[in-house]
């Protein structure tokens, strides 16, 4: 027979135990929460982010944790798998806040998921530092508790425009004579990238001769390439995720086009070097971070040291390059540590104010948030594929190699 009272007693005892253990934990740990894509279409990238979070937590804890008012706190992250679906991400954020008592959030993977979770953290006034949502639509909603360490998507290829203008000047040409061809996928991310490119084209006074949109199910760019044959642009800027990068690289070679400068996103995820070998030579690729950059900080060391340590401690990356998604996730945890120590308290509102005043140098780049919450201190980096390697060529302050121009 079912004894209701016995059952209730058991429930009471259990909840008391849970409560006391939470209280005991709360004494010396800081619990961060994150809904992250461990399965579904973003699983690969989501796992990169999780490895980054875990690595930073381990590193910070090993260095004595977060010091607030002379006391050390260990960091801990509670994860849920959002299955790469925004609706699930929103639910899990509620669950982390309401059931697990999480007061500080780390971001999910992708702009879409961040867009689903930000309203929830905003509602409960929970500060969230995110590292994987770059859409500029995240930063025009007036969110107060959202902070992003990465450059937003309209910055992705803007530096390519500046570079093209510089090259033109160096070769005695007026920027107004530089002809630009654009091909962007018709999706929120690529259109953000395009908006940034268009702004910079106006600023530098370049001339747009081709402005094509690419379909979501892109397979063939013959039409765009034929226009390039006819109009001979000096710069070709493409963004259509990895299929856009792959298709453009392939068809530029197949149609024997000679374009002095080609810039794109997603070179690494499209595996251009592996797939297209020497055909991919000379492509300019936008990236958030590269291990050859001269950034450094006291916790992780230089970008190169961070890279080497990941390769040593996480066997998964021993034989492949460490993706920037991982580095920026680690940087997000580091931002929390810095903000906690400056605020000198566990209070989430004080923490929010400390976060918004963040101004730090890290192995991932400088971090300083605008009023909208995006990081305005770190530029996007352009790498060029040279002899099968990605070498930083712009901005010139961080460049390790010279730009190969014109592309053969």
């Amino acid at each position: 027979m079912f004894h209701y009272r016995t059952f209730m007693k058991a429930v009471a005892v259990t909840s008391a135990l849970v409560a006391s253990s939470v209280a005991a934990n709360a004494a010396d740990t800081i619990l961060l929460g994150s809904a992250i894509s461990l399965t579904g279409k973003y699983a690969t990238a989501g796992n990169h982010a999780k490895v980054g979070y875990d690595f930073a937590v381990k590193k910070i804890n090993a260095a004595g944790g977060v010091k607030i008012g002379g006391k050390s706190y260990m960091l801990e992250v509670k994860y849920y798998d959002d299955e790469s679906t925004p609706a699930r991400g929103g639910q899990l954020a509620e669950r982390l806040i309401n059931q697990d008592g999480v007061q500080y959030m780390l971001g999910p993977y992708s702009s879409g998921l961040t867009k689903a979770i930000a309203p929830v953290t905003e509602k409960y006034k929970i500060p969230m530092v995110e590292a994987e949502g770059a859409s500029r639509s995240l930063f025009n909603k007036g969110y107060k508790y959202l902070f992003a360490v990465l450059s937003t998507s309209e910055q992705y290829l803007a530096s390519a425009v500046a570079l093209a203008a510089d090259v033109a000047k160096a070769n005695g040409k007026k920027p107004g004579d530089v002809k630009v061809a654009l091909a962007f996928e018709n999706d929120p991310f690529s259109l953000d990238v395009r908006a940034g490119v268009i702004d910079d084209i106006k600023k530098h006074g370049l001339k747009i001769v081709i402005d094509d949109k690419l379909p979501r199910n892109l397979t063939d760019m013959t039409a765009t390439m034929t226009k390039i044959k006819a109009l001979k642009p000096d710069v070709f800027i493409v963004s259509g995720h990895s299929k856009g990068a792959g298709t453009a690289t392939r068809q530029i070679a197949e149609m024997k086009l000679s374009i002095p400068m080609v810039a794109m996103t997603h070179c690494e995820s499209a595996n251009l070097v592996g797939k297209y070998k020497e055909t991919a030579e000379g492509m300019l690729c936008a990236t958030q971070w590269a291990e050859t950059l001269t950034y450094k900080d006291p916790m992780f060391g230089t970008a190169a040291e961070f890279n080497a340590e990941i390769k040593k401690t996480v066997p998964e990356y021993a034989n492949k390059s460490v993706p920037y998604q991982l580095a920026q996730a680690a940087a997000a945890v580091y931002v929390f540590k810095d903000a906690f120590e400056r605020s000198g308290s566990l209070d989430k509102d004080k923490l929010r104010d400390a976060l918004s005043a963040t101004n730090m140098k890290t192995f991932y780049g400088d971090i300083k948030f605008s009023a909208a919450g995006n990081n305005t201190a770190k530029p996007m980096v352009l790498r060029q594929i040279q002899n099968g390697k990605y070498n930083v060529v712009a901005p010139t302050a961080f460049a390790s190699h010279k730009l190969d121009w014109p592309r053969k």
Binding site: P215, D220, K227, K229, T247, R250, A253, S269, T279
Partner: protein, 300 residues
């Protein structure tokens, strides 16, 4: 748009290049559409998983290429593998829906398409793959006209395969049985044709044709598990335009579609490439409607 038209007329070599390119890829579309027409005509099953068979064929060829097997040898393997899979799917699902109405077969093949997409994603991952042979293109007129060797190989292979299938349908006993069944299954059964065997053979043959077409596609474009739909749509448009049982028309429609896609994308923008395909279907249906209504009036 007018600027683009101006380019087409002022530099005719570029237009010629797009037309040649359209014909080359149109050959592959025609092959896929022919398989669809076969199953549609013989079994009255509209196979929504057509494009997914194609993509699986592409994956088989790509997978073998990873072991150093040239696609020219990989494509026959894809043909054989998809034949086997087609037979299994027929025995498991299709044989149960043949006798039922249109929607049952549509739903069943739609279900097969979903299962295939998800399985390919689990097995091969969601990333875009391709076989990049990185062959040097043939350039003419100072490279204004370029012909890509992979597309040429694909076109020739598609033609060879189509000729083989056609002569098989015309000459062999099985081909005759298939055609008899398509005309009248009941009469065929009365004449001693094992229609069940004909059906399973036809469905397997279609899957195999798709597999080979997929192998050709793997050399030309990037593909991922969910891109099959655009090949299904193209096949449906071609078959709708050409009608069932008219092979010459299927090939002509396939080639025509390739050309319209490439030149249309040039004039209206690459963004509208697939919209053009569907727009073409609407035009074809309207024209057919007008023609048939005229014919009816004549009969009256």
């Amino acid at each position: 748009m007018w600027d683009n038209l101006q380019i087409m007329f002022s530099i005719p070599v570029l237009t010629l290049g797009m037309i040649i390119d359209g014909l080359l890829i149109g050959g592959i579309f025609a092959l896929i559409a022919y398989g669809l027409a076969l199953v549609w005509g013989v079994m009255n099953v509209k196979n929504l998983a057509q494009g997914d068979f194609v993509i699986l064929g592409a994956y088989v060829t790509w997978w073998l290429y990873g072991y150093g097997i040239n696609p020219i040898f990989g494509i026959p393997v894809a043909f054989a593998a998809l034949w086997g899979l087609g037979w299994i799917i027929y025995k498991l699902v299709i044989c149960r829906v043949i006798e039922h109405d249109l929607f049952t077969s549509l739903l069943a093949t739609f279900g097969i398409a979903i299962v295939m997409q998800q399985t390919m994603k689990i097995v091969f991952g969601a990333d875009e793959q391709t076989i990049a042979l990185n062959l040097e293109s043939f350039g003419f007129f100072d490279n204004l006209l370029t012909i890509q060797p992979t597309r040429l190989i694909a076109f020739i292979s598609a033609i060879v395969l189509a000729v083989a299938v056609i002569s098989f349908m015309k000459r062999s006993r099985m081909g005759q049985a298939i055609r008899a069944t398509a005309q009248n299954p009941r009469a065929a059964r009365v004449m001693g044709i094992d229609t069940e065997k004909v059906y399973s053979f036809t469905f397997s043959l279609n899957a195999a044709i798709c597999g080979a077409a997929g192998g050709l596609i793997s050399m030309i474009w990037e593909f991922q598990p969910f891109i099959g739909l655009i090949y299904s749509i193209r096949a449906f448009v071609i078959v709708t335009a050409a009608g069932l049982g008219n092979l010459a028309a299927v090939i002509a429609a396939g080639l025509g579609m390739g050309v319209v896609e490439q030149t249309g994308a040039f004039v209206f923008g690459t963004e509208y490439q697939q919209a053009i395909v569907v727009g073409l279907l609407v035009v074809v249906l309207l024209v057919k409607l007008v023609l048939s209504s005229r014919r009816r009036q004549v009969v009256e």
